[in-house]
């Protein structure tokens, strides 16, 4: 297809010749000489003939068609692309004239899909400003909630099966005496200090209940023992952040993504609503959804 003229190619005339040397039909000759188009037929068969009987062959259009329909183009008799295109065009017009497209499920599905695309795609979405994002976050607080977090230090007394009351007392006394907590108990392979972890993150380290029990402890005092999935621990919370709405700087990326996603949906939904407003809908039989149609569009294709 590299030697076919492309749309808008100023040198279209010359390459056309070479393309047509392969075909060599009358049509090809006409194309080569007239270069841009040939007119076939004269007029509509009668005044109320719904079909436009004038086919204008645009060489660029034929080339584009051949590019998009390579199998058909390859099968064109004698390699005559224009003739194949003309045949298709005539069949297409006849089909339109007969209204065949109106009752075809595949055509229906396809053009609905195209319509949906055209309502959304091709519109450059404005990048949200900070004010837009702040408003969006305020309108959707549940999505951008920062959970309660705490920083904690802990002393792991040891595996439940291996340690007893005496070991617990020894750690408790040592902490009360102010001994260096890092030297007490056993090491915990996932660490002894955790910085600003949420309850869920603590659960992934210590097991389900532990985080809930320790996240609200008084600051900077040792409490316990608390049992994790692995045995008893003494815990000191050194910093805590109550649950709050995320700051723009913390949630900007998520907020921007959700904002644009929502904008795309809103544009499509609004456009569909506007379309729908132009229709009178009569429902002949009782319909389950008597409240009216849900205008929610199906989820748009997302990469």
């Amino acid at each position: 297809m590299s030697d076919l003229p492309l749309k808008g190619d100023p040198g279209a005339t010359a390459p056309t010749t070479s393309a047509l040397q392969r075909g060599g039909s009358a049509v090809a000759f006409a194309l080569a000489t007239i270069a841009l188009f040939v007119v076939y037929g004269n007029a509509r068969e009668s005044a109320d003939d719904p079909i436009d009987r004038q086919i204008v062959v645009d060489s660029a259009e034929v080339a584009a068609w051949a590019g998009e329909n390579q199998a058909l183009a390859a099968a064109a008799p004698d390699g005559d692309l224009a003739a194949a295109w003309i045949r298709d065009e005539a069949l297409y017009r006849e089909a339109l004239g007969l209204g065949l497209h109106l009752s075809d499920t595949i055509v229906r599905r396809r053009i609905i899909q195209k319509m949906l695309f055209s309502l959304v795609e091709g519109r450059p979405l404005p990048r949200p400003t900070d004010a837009d994002l702040v408003a969006w976050i305020a309108d959707n607080p549940e999505r951008y909630q920062e959970p309660a977090r705490a920083s904690l230090e802990h002393v792991y007394v040891g595996p439940e099966a291996e340690v007893g009351e005496r070991d617990i007392e020894r750690v408790r006394d040592a902490l009360a005496r102010g001994e260096d907590w890092r030297t007490l108990g056993r090491d915990f392979i996932r660490g002894r200090e955790f910085s600003m972890r949420s309850r869920r993150q603590m659960a992934s380290v210590f097991g389900d209940r532990f985080g809930g029990e320790v996240i609200g402890l008084d600051l900077n005092v040792w409490s316990g023992p608390f049992n994790s999935a692995f045995g008893p621990h003494f815990v000191r919370v050194t910093e805590r952040q109550e649950p709050r709405l995320g700051l723009l700087s913390e949630v900007r990326r998520d907020a921007e993504r959700d904002y644009l996603d929502n904008l795309r949906r809103t544009i499509a939904t609004t456009a569909i609503s506007e379309l729908m407003a132009r229709y009178d809908v009569t429902i002949e039989e009782a319909h389950e959804n008597s409240e009216g149609y849900d205008l929610d569009i199906p989820p748009l294709p997302r990469l």
């Binding site: 297809m1 590299s2 590019g67 998009e68 390579q70 199998a71 396809r110 899909q113 195209k114 695309f117 040891g158 595996p159 439940e160 099966a161 890092r182 030297t183 007490l184 108990g185 056993r186 090491d187 392979i189 996932r190 660490g191 200090e193 955790f194 910085s195 600003m196 869920r200 659960a203 992934s204 380290v205 210590f206 097991g207 389900d208 994790s228 999935a229 692995f230 045995g231 700087s249 913390e250 990326r253 993504r257 199906p298 989820p299 294709p301 997302r302 990469l303």
Partner: protein
């Protein structure tokens, strides 16, 4: 990667080392001498430079935090996922990994999935690794505006026709793969152009879901899969990048048909390019390579020096191997050439060939064909334990180990659900081939491809990283400070040193001491004192999910003797294999006690300082039901399909973790 002196020079090197010890005199001095060869314990003041612009993480911990991830994930952008009704893309996959719900097939009328899934525990990191091949084709076939949208091939893709998968997959098995001209145009440019645009979008999604704030809650790694199936053998690699500085296009099988060609591309387009690009490739499903993926051959080389350079490059670009995923376990196997050790009953775990009762002919000394279709042969070389031994043998011969491999685990989900590994709630990983209980238990799809009951939910990667940033995770991967599990989040530390005391497990600063006096998993034990090396291994049961107790810890040793013969041995080092734990097969209820945690210091009783060796730990849980058993007992006896009576499918499994090895060279 280290290059060692050749065998011929070794005695001299040893003499020098021993001479140093004698000169110092006494045992205490020996300890000091080995101390000099070991890094100090990491401290807060270690400088950390990011290869990208981001906020510093608040969770930074020089003694390493444990993070969970999935490094092998397919979405609707993979041809063998879209065709089977997977409609979720990379964005949905990352949202899922972060804890958001997802809708899986069967699809409803609106083309949206009807089955909900959600992780009860989000992941810390993930990599969406769609097939680099056919990204453009999927784009054409799903975009109504595309010229090729109406072609038969595209219609087949949208209709879920197996034949089109066969066409695509078939191209990945031949030396000169072809594009589908109808879809891509005669010169293929339509698909290449679109692949570039898809890759651009994939990179953007990786950016969108990466947490660059100081919270460091979730890390995405830009990734793709290079999907060579030359001679129908699985040679796949997941290619992973350190940061967002990546080539304009992924390298696909159309660009590179052999692994060295892939490495050429990775060097040209990434490692040797301007900027901060860094990359590694991770082989997977070696179990389906018919003896080819770890064949000790160095194509294109004509001398030992060139072979050593080849081996060095491979070891540098491929420091890790994925040893568990939904298409089976690749750790070890019994009874296939080469045999290096006694039968290990725990090697029976998730053995795809045995369960599917496919051709199990031994490949022998050579590489075979049709490994991926499982109609060819099976090789002992396909299993990582043996590959590690072969690596030591090659190191003895060439001076360089081509396979000093650390471990990762993954799902290889084709449903865009990273980390969905629970046995008791498994909705399948392969779209319409596994999306109802009936097809899941069937075992083969319409085209006869193995799946369903022979597959499993796959595993996870654990990374001991200083922080959850891309650099933090990638550093841990390059250092092999990662390990694999068959699904449960079993925390396990593994260190090697020359003088760990038996009481170390009770120490309040065990981990800091171990770093100070030894090396962590993935490291090289160096120096060597007069005694045997000691290994500290400490594991805890998963604190979430099914919370199955631990049964025992094993240490797997591999070594090469002075004749170049390879050996392996498995040692039980903690816990109790006979703890009486069992499973009620009618209810899947687990009975009997195990251990909430296990810790021990073990010393190799047969250590020979002249022999190259590796050691890795395998942590076993008590038995629990395999996913198939959960689903079979959920059906009444009459409803159960034949798959429930398949004697090759075990009712129970022992879930496990495998640490990366610690290596020793004289």
């Amino acid at each position: 990667m280290r290059i060692y002196v050749t065998t011929a020079l070794l005695p001299a090197a040893l003499l020098i080392a021993l001479g140093t010890l004698w000169a110092c005199g006494g045992d205490g001095a020996a300890a000091d001498a080995s101390q000099d060869l070991i890094d100090d314990a990491p401290t807060d003041t270690d400088p950390f430079t990011y290869s990208e612009e981001r906020e510093a993480c608040t969770d930074r911990n020089p003694l390493r935090n444990l993070y969970w991830g999935d490094l092998h994930v397919h979405t609707a952008l993979s041809f063998d996922a879209y065709v089977f009704d997977t409609r979720n893309g990379p964005a949905e996959a990352y949202a899922f990994a972060r804890g958001e719900p997802i809708q899986l097939s069967p699809l409803g009328d609106d083309d949206v999935g009807t089955v909900s899934a959600r992780l009860d525990r989000p992941l810390d990191f993930a990599a969406v690794s769609d097939h680099a091949e056919f990204l453009g084709e999927i784009s054409v076939c799903t975009d109504p505006e595309a010229a090729g949208y109406e072609t038969d091939a595209c219609a087949d893709i949208r209709a879920g026709d197996n034949r089109i998968v066969s066409f695509f997959a078939g191209q990945l098995t031949v030396e000169e793969p072809a594009r589908n001209v109808e879809v891509c145009g005669e010169d293929g440019s339509e698909c290449t152009t679109r692949a570039a645009s898809m890759w651009e979008q994939i990179r953007q999604i990786n950016e969108d879901y990466y947490d660059r704030s100081a919270d460091c809650e979730f890390t995405t790694l830009v990734s793709y899969e290079w999907s060579a199936v030359l001679d129908s053998n699985n040679m796949h690699r997941v290619v992973l990048f350190r940061n967002g500085d990546v080539p304009d296009l992924p390298t696909s099988y159309y660009d590179a048909q052999h692994a060295p060609d892939l490495w050429d591309r990775l060097e040209r387009d990434c490692l040797n390019a301007d900027g901060n690009c860094d990359v590694m490739a991770i082989p997977h499903n070696s179990n389906l390579s018919a003896g080819n993926i770890f064949l000790a051959e160095y194509p294109g080389t004509s001398s030992d020096e060139e072979a050593a350079a080849f081996a060095e490059r491979r070891a540098r670009l491929e420091p890790l191997v994925e040893i568990i995923q939904h298409k089976g376990d690749s750790e070890c196997v019994n009874g296939y050439t080469p045999i290096f050790g006694a039968v290990d009953e725990q090697c029976g775990f998730e053995k795809l060939h045995e369960m599917a009762a496919t051709n199990q002919q031994d490949c022998g000394e050579f590489g075979g064909q049709s490994g991926m279709s499982m109609t060819g042969c099976v090789s002992g070389r396909d299993f990582v334990r043996n590959a590690l031994v072969i690596g030591l043998q090659e190191e003895q011969r060439l001076g360089v180990n081509p396979y000093p491999l650390g471990f990762v685990g993954a799902t290889d989900t084709h449903n865009a659900v990273p980390g969905l590994v629970e046995e008791n709630d498994y909705p399948g990983h392969w779209g319409s081939n596994e999306d109802t209980i009936e097809v899941r238990l069937r075992g083969r799809n319409g085209a006869g491809i193995i799946g369903g009951r022979y597959n499993n939910p796959g595993g996870l990667t654990a990374a001991w990283a200083t922080e959850n940033s891309r650099d933090g995770i990638f550093d841990a991967m390059q250092a092999r400070e990662t390990y694999a599990t068959s699904g449960p989040r079993i925390p396990v530390r593994f260190f090697g040193g020359w003088d760990f005391e038996p009481t170390m497990c009770e120490s309040a600063d065990m981990v800091a001491e171990a770093y100070q006096r030894g090396v962590a998993m993935g490291g090289y034990l160096e120096g060597g004192s007069s005694g045997a090396p000691t290994f500290l291994v400490s594991a805890m049961r998963d604190s979430g999910g099914l919370q199955t107790d631990l049964q025992r810890i094993q240490i797997v040793k591999g070594w090469v003797d002075s004749n170049g013969e390879g050996h392996t041995e498995v040692f039980d080092v903690a816990g109790d294999a006979e703890n009486g734990a069992a499973v009620n097969l009618d209810t899947c209820e687990r009975t009997g006690e195990g251990f909430a945690s296990l810790c021990t210091v073990w010393s190799d009783p047969d250590f020979d300082a002249n022999q190259r060796a590796f050691y890795y730990a395998r942590v076993l849980e008590n038995p629990s039901c395999r996913w198939t058993q959960y689903q079979c007992i959920a059906l009444s006896a009459e409803e159960r399909p034949d798959g429930c009576n398949d004697e090759n499918i075990p009712a129970t499994i022992q879930e496990r973790a495998w640490t990366s090895p610690i290596f020793y060279s004289p």
